[in-house]
């Protein structure tokens, strides 16, 4: 996702969440173990917390959250699909799909899992969950660290 001119002139604070775990074995239902936050715009990172990867979004705001994973595939047919869910395991927004750009599949989609979350009336817990996965060695795999972007999630807090 690029950043348009209007996104450079809005009232929003942006932080990114990361997962320090490496070589994560994953299967359907695995919760991405986010455990750290870093400010990108503004200073909201210290206000976020996690428990077993579940991110708590503070009350009083709308949020836009985008997440993607890093994975090493066993072979070119590897893929991971993942989606944001709330604490009732309801899907939020749309899922992301990670596949090899060079490998045609009978399915596809952008790699970002994206959701808009209304936390204006109370805090909301969200988690990035593996929906389905195949032929993946691991997530946050360290084999090619120099090209690894690691697992990331951007959290845009819309400030009023």
């Amino acid at each position: 996702m690029s950043y348009s001119l209007i996104q450079r002139r809005i009232k929003a604070s942006v932080a990114y969440a990361s997962a320090s775990a490496r070589n994560i074995s994953a299967s359907a239902g695995t919760v991405i173990p986010f455990d750290g936050f870093t400010d990108m715009v503004g200073s909201t990172a210290s206000g976020y917390s996690t428990s077993a990867g579940v991110i708590t979004l503070l009350s009083g705001y709308w949020y836009v959250v985008k997440g993607s994973v890093q994975a090493r595939f066993n072979d070119k047919s590897g893929y991971v699909k993942y989606i944001w869910r709330d604490n009732t395991n309801s899907d939020l927004g749309r899922r992301g799909t990670l596949i090899m750009q060079e490998q045609p599949q009978l399915f596809g989609g952008d790699e970002f899992a994206v959701c808009v979350v209304d936390a204006t009336a109370g805090s909301v817990d969200i988690k990035l969950v593996v929906e389905s996965i195949a032929n993946v060695t691991s997530l946050n795999n360290t084999t090619d660290q120099r090209v690894a972007g690691w697992i990331r999630a951007e959290i845009w807090r819309i400030t009023g």
Binding site: M1, S2, S4, L5, I6, Q7, R9, I10, K11, A12, W62, V64, I83, G93, R94, R95, T97, I99, Q101, E102, Q103, P104, Q105, L106, F107, G108, G109, D110, F112, V114, C115, V116, D118, I158, T159, G160
Partner: protein, 137 residues
């Protein structure tokens, strides 16, 4: 002229449809929005008022053959705008997500359209979502 940063308005929409021809306008429905500004009429037309906008549509699909591909653009009052999207994940001929940035002096209609295909339709899933951002001008 400098304009102070503003609180953006954001709409999340679902888009759907099965093209029966190369050109096709997708159906739209508003899932939620941070502040009401986007309405859908005739099932396909997003009505927007004066303002600055950014729109992106995320695609998610299945297909029966990897050669089944399409091309998608945002259209403003019937004319294509912004960057092409599509489903071609192999030959890298298109970006995944159609995106557009535009400013309106008065109300206009935003639609999402397939503009070309390989001869048959990909099947969209329920994960096809569009996000429209607005700030006032």
């Amino acid at each position: 002229m400098h304009q102070a940063p503003q609180v953006p308005k954001i709409a999340e929409l679902s888009w759907s449809g099965t093209p029966t021809a190369a050109t096709f306008t997708y159906s739209m429905s508003v899932d939620q929005q941070t502040s009401a500004f986007a309405t859908v009429s005739s099932g396909t037309d997003i009505t927007l008022s004066r303002g600055h906008y950014y729109a992106i549509a995320y695609i998610d699909f299945t297909r029966t053959a990897s050669t089944t591909n399409n091309e998608i653009y945002w259209h403003l009052d019937g004319s294509p705008i912004g960057m092409r999207g599509g489903s071609d994940h192999y030959q890298n001929e298109s970006n995944d997500n159609p995106e557009a940035t535009f400013s309106l002096d008065s109300s206009a209609t935003l639609t999402l359209r397939q503009t070309a295909w390989s001869g048959s339709a990909i099947a969209l899933t329920s994960h096809c979502k569009a996000f429209v951002w607005k700030v006032d001008r």
